[in-house]
Symmetry: C2
Subunit: 192 residues, 2 copies
DNA sequence: TGTACATCAGTGAACGCGCGTTCACTGATGTAC
DNA sequence: TGTACATCAGTGAACGCGCGTTCACTGATGTAC
């Protein structure tokens, strides 16, 4: 068993990655020091060599989860060209995204939790919300901040609802319906 | 201190009401036997005379919270006439609703929690989602289930986002923007 | 390059605490005569 | 209506458990000569 400095950095990274995955899959409140350390095959005592406290880990895991979610969105939508926005919307409201919150958009997964969290956590997510709105506004072809707000609300609402609904067909229908509506918004924006 | 049967029923009611308020304000995971009993000025030991277990209380409090939220929506939108839908939307995306999750729509507040809960809890919320969609479809003037799905997604997404955003002006703007969009959808539906 | 020592990443026992749950007890309530 | 007794709603101490956190210890790593 090695204890080198390089390994320490790697372990910190593994703890943070596991924590980010955990909160995306099960929410902020589900994060435990013991369970995270077990997941990365370390003992709980070592945790405090990496983080000041559990709430320190939660804060960093939240930032990480949001950053990963944004990166996943960027990656899945491909190169920036005419079809990029449509691909991004299709990916966002896909069954794959609905069924894999752990590797998906953390804004959607955690917005409910963050809505009742402290001001600092809300500010962290707020930045990602603004980036998201800006990206959508661009995808809609211009200055339409308002349309982007509507589209983001619909995307997040639909993804969340699709994860609540147990009837798969109905859940699929929610995704499809809102997807088509948001794609049509792009058409409208272009035509204007 | 009385221990009559009538008082027992009243106490059960008070426990359930406090629990429903608690989960609407702070989420499903925030509910504790001790804290709820303290809130209604009883001791924790008596809890098991009213409920089988904590998870029994959670299940009933969830149903209660959803029912109360739906009733609040119905009450605030007034009598069923032409302006009813517009009033309901304005109320839903109002600052008052944003700032008082405890007495507001539990679908919006708890959807994120429920999305990762067991199938039974999801089925309980699912019914309320379907009722909600049906009510909106009616408000939009007819058979437009698809438009209602879009509207509900936007309503829930916008309310949740408005609670995340710390900048009050920006939060107000989210509410206003989506409100206008949903009201315009009604106009569109009527004109069709 | 090889030895001697300090550093420090990770271990695992121990801590206090709050949780959900149980239970013997209490005294007011409701009932039988 | 009044008394005698059973019921049972609520009390509060106690339980085991898992949590976050601390700490003395270990042995491999990294450093100084």
């Amino acid at each position: 068993m090695g204890h080198s400095q390089a390994e320490k950095a790697r372990n910190r990274e593994r703890i943070l990655a596991a924590a980010a995955g955990q909160i995306r899959a099960q929410g902020l409140a589900s994060l435990g020091v013991g369970s995270v350390m077990r997941k990365v095959k370390l003992t709980h005592g070592g945790f405090y060599g990496h983080f000041d406290s559990k709430s320190d880990l939660v804060a960093q895991a939240l930032a990480r989860a949001l950053a990963e979610g944004a990166a996943a969105g960027r990656a899945s939508s491909g190169p920036a060209n005419a079809g990029r926005f449509a691909r991004a919307v299709r990916g966002y409201l896909s069954r794959a995204h609905r069924d894999n919150p752990k590797s998906g958009c953390a804004v959607a997964t955690l917005a409910g939790d963050i809505a009742r969290a402290d001001r600092r956590s809300r500010a962290v997510m707020e930045k990602h919300v603004e980036n998201f709105i800006a990206a959508i506004a661009q995808g809609l072809g211009g200055e339409s901040d308002g349309a982007a707000i509507v589209a983001l609300s619909a995307l997040i609402g639909a993804l969340t609802l699709s994860r609540v609904v147990t009837d798969r067909k109905r859940s699929d229908e929610i995704l499809r319906t809102v997807r088509d509506h948001v794609l049509a918004m792009q058409g409208d924006a272009r035509r204007t």
